[in-house]
């Protein structure tokens, strides 16, 4: 792929099936992580099952690579399906869930779904729900200066958009003649941990907050991967070429609550995977047997991955002082 030009992949039948594959992988991985928590193979689960319909297209449409020619990802901890769509190995999520020394994202130091992948410009995910809206300004500023069509995108929840950093992001990315190529994404699941949106939001279309800054914005059904794909293509094309911000809200389901702190039990909300599978069958793109085989493939691999991860070493005393300081060159 060229470092300087990006063309979105075509949404043909093959891609629609690939989207399904990654949505199932995302769901199966999250459900495995929840089982690990329940069976004592992890301390705490937090993730994004229910958001695959939006997060998988996002991953496929990411210009993946290292440096300002490529997209910078300022994710929150509900972004597993995005990373998987980009090609991440689910076993590494199991490693972080179990907090093994082999966890490549944090060496067992951070909660699951807290990625850090420099070759893909995935900056470290933090348990804070707002700081990514501030850090995205810096990578976008470097990209604006650098040229090309790389953008910086930031994901957060509807509750996180109440934080000041959300407003900071909109303000800094719209300074006169200094607009920034930032794609501001809001996953609206109608909850902030346990607090319903009805108690905190006077308008569920949080993207409309961007109107005050003159930022183009839209809202999409995040349970529909096809609609999400088209909305992302439009938003990304605008940011890549106009070098200005765009705010996109995706209305999504939250199928297992906020985290293991709320039990991680299944909620009765629309399931984007099931809805998409019905559509694929209806459109004769997949059979029910083919769909089942996709689930079987991923669940079988995840079960094997788990057995491998369980046998891997855990961090010990010798790991504590590693990486307190960086000893190498100054630049990332």
């Amino acid at each position: 792929m060229s470092a300087t030009t990006w063309k979105a992949p075509k949404l043909d039948a093959k891609m629609k099936i690939a989207i399904h594959d990654k949505m199932v992988l995302g769901r199966a991985t999250e459900e495995m992580l929840i089982r690990m928590m329940r069976t004592g193979h992890g301390y705490f689960w937090i993730g994004g099952p229910g958001e695959e319909g939006f997060n998988v297209p996002l991953g496929f449409l990411t210009k993946k690579g290292h440096g300002p020619d490529f997209d910078y990802l300022h994710l929150h901890y509900r972004s597993s399906a995005t990373i998987l769509a980009m090609g991440a190995e689910p076993i590494n999520m199991l490693r972080q869930m179990r907090a093994t020394a082999t966890d490549p994202y944090s060496k067992g130091r951070n909660f699951v779904n807290h990625f850090a992948i420099k070759p893909w410009n995935v900056v470290p995910v933090t348990p804070t729900i707002e700081t990514q809206y501030a850090t995205v300004i810096g990578t976008a500023l470097v990209q604006k200066r650098h040229g090309g069509d790389g953008l910086s995108y930031v994901t957060g929840g509807d509750a996180g958009s109440a934080e000041g950093d959300f407003w900071t992001c909109m303000n800094w990315s719209t300074r006169p003649e200094r607009e920034l190529p930032v794609l501001i994404l809001i996953a609206q699941n109608e909850f902030g941990i346990s607090t319903p949106a009805s108690q905190t939001q006077n308008n569920r279309h949080l993207n409309e907050r961007a109107n005050g800054f003159g930022i183009r914005n839209a809202c999409v059904d995040g349970n529909d991967p096809i609609a999400s794909w088209h909305a992302l293509v439009e938003a990304m094309a605008y940011v890549r070429h106009e070098r200005k911000p765009y705010c996109l809200q995706a209305n999504v389901s939250r199928l297992y609550g906020h985290s293991s702190s709320s039990g991680a039990n299944r909620y009765d909300e629309p399931d984007c995977v099931g809805l998409y599978e019905a559509r694929l069958v209806r459109e004769n793109l997949m059979t029910e047997a083919e769909i089942r085989s996709v689930w079987d493939k991923h669940n079988t691999q995840l079960a094997a991955d788990l057995q491998k991860v369980i046998a891997e070493p855990m961090p010990g005393k010798e790991h504590v002082l590693q990486h307190v300081w960086h000893e190498g060159t100054a630049s990332n």
Binding site: G67, P68, Y72, H74, D103, P104, Y105, S106, K107, R109, N110, H114, A116, I117, K118, V123, P124, T126, T128, T131, Y133, A134, T135, V136, I137, G138, T139, A140, L141, V142, Q143, S152, G164, D165, T168, N171, W172, R175, Q322, H323, V324, W325, H326, E327, G328, T329, A330, S331, N332
Partner: protein, 351 residues
């Protein structure tokens, strides 16, 4: 001789030209003002940020992620408290990502009292800062060290907090910065922006050179045998003046300028205490959980049997602020007479 603000400015210029500095920014940092203390006048990568501390730190971290080398400023440390979680993030990125990313950024902010700054322009920050792990923290007491510490901070691959003692910003040095013109007026004409309209002004930078004060390395500002004083920043010249006065009474006090607060130069402090048997730590931060307590604890751990006297800390009173009326500042932040009295008492007390 350059003053401390000019020294910082020349260091940042050197950083732009030779050490990869890409962005120097904060509130009022760019043209036309060039910083409330003029420390960023005329710099080619300096720009004005919105008055938004969270945006400033978040942007700096993002620039560092993307391969840049930012030097950000919070205009006064008193306004840094709403970014503590971002400072925590900057400090934990390397560890939490198991070395995948690191944070080569410098954050500078003026600290301390001495300018009648009242409630929000007089605080110290080093004690709180040392509780935010993953940062290195430096504070110069003179222009040449400010220059050398800033160059080391810029070259450092980890986040560095550069605390500038605001009361010393106009203090001139005793030694030339390598490459600095010997004549003050010449330097002024070269790098100080004119008053009034300065839209067409460009600095004429002197050929300053690579001079670094290593992070973690203190210096002995005054040699003595009777007492070890460990201090930094604004309290350093105050302590030297007091030590000079005591020298006329035949009392030789050793004054250590820490320069780096974290990680501080324990070997130098320990060696001095082993020589003098007495330790007085002086700073202007408030006294409860003051960083000086940590220095004393480390000395107790490593040089206890060398001590002839219990170590002491002379620091600011534990009150919510530095009041505007001189009577408040005078009686809550260590002053020249307080320093002299404490040094005399400790140097002359029976073992």
């Amino acid at each position: 001789m350059a003053n401390l603000a000019q020294a910082i400015r020349m260091a940042l210029h050197y950083g732009e030209e030779h050490l990869g500095v890409t962005d120097i920014f904060g509130e009022d940092v760019g043209a036309p003002l060039g910083g409330v203390f003029t420390a960023t006048q005329g710099l080619k990568t300096a720009w004005n940020a919105p008055l938004d501390e969270r945006g400033i730190i978040g942007t700096a971290l993002g620039i560092a992620y993307a391969g840049g080398k930012p030097v950000a400023e919070i205009q006064f440390c008193d306004y840094i408290y709403n970014v503590i979680d971002l400072l925590k993030l900057c400090g934990n990125v390397t560890w939490s990502s198991a070395g995948e990313y690191h944070v080569p950024m410098v954050l500078m902010t003026p600290v301390g009292s001495g300018i009648h700054g009242s409630m929000y322009h007089s605080h110290s920050f080093e004690s709180i800062a040392t509780h935010i792990q993953g940062w290195k923290i430096v504070m110069p007491s003179n222009p040449k060290d400010a220059y050398g510490l800033m160059l080391s901070a810029i070259a450092e691959p980890n986040p560095v907090l550069f605390l500038a003692p605001k009361a010393l910003m106009r203090q001139k040095g005793a030694e030339l910065i390598p490459g600095e013109p010997a004549d003050e007026r010449t330097l002024h004409n070269m790098i100080d922006a004119p008053l009034g309209d300065r839209s067409d002004w460009q600095p004429n930078w002197p050929p300053v050179e690579d001079y670094r004060v290593p992070i973690g390395e203190a210096t002995i500002a005054r040699v003595g045998e009777a007492l070890t004083v460990v201090t930094y920043g604004r309290m350093l010249p105050v302590s030297v003046v007091a030590a000079d006065a005591l020298a006329k009474e035949g009392i030789d006090v050793e004054v250590i300028d820490l320069r780096t607060i974290y990680p501080f130069d324990l070997p130098m402090v320990k060696a001095s205490v082993e020589k003098t048997g007495r330790l007085l730590v002086i700073n202007e931060d408030t006294e409860v959980t003051n960083f000086g307590e940590h220095i004393i604890r480390k000395v107790m751990d490593e040089a206890f049997y060398s001590l002839e006297l219990k170590p002491e800390l002379l620091a600011g009173l534990d009150v919510p602020g530095v009041g505007l009326a001189w009577g408040y500042e005078q009686n809550s932040v260590p002053q020249q007479d307080d320093v002299l009295a404490a040094m005399r008492r400790m140097a002359t007390a029976p073992a």
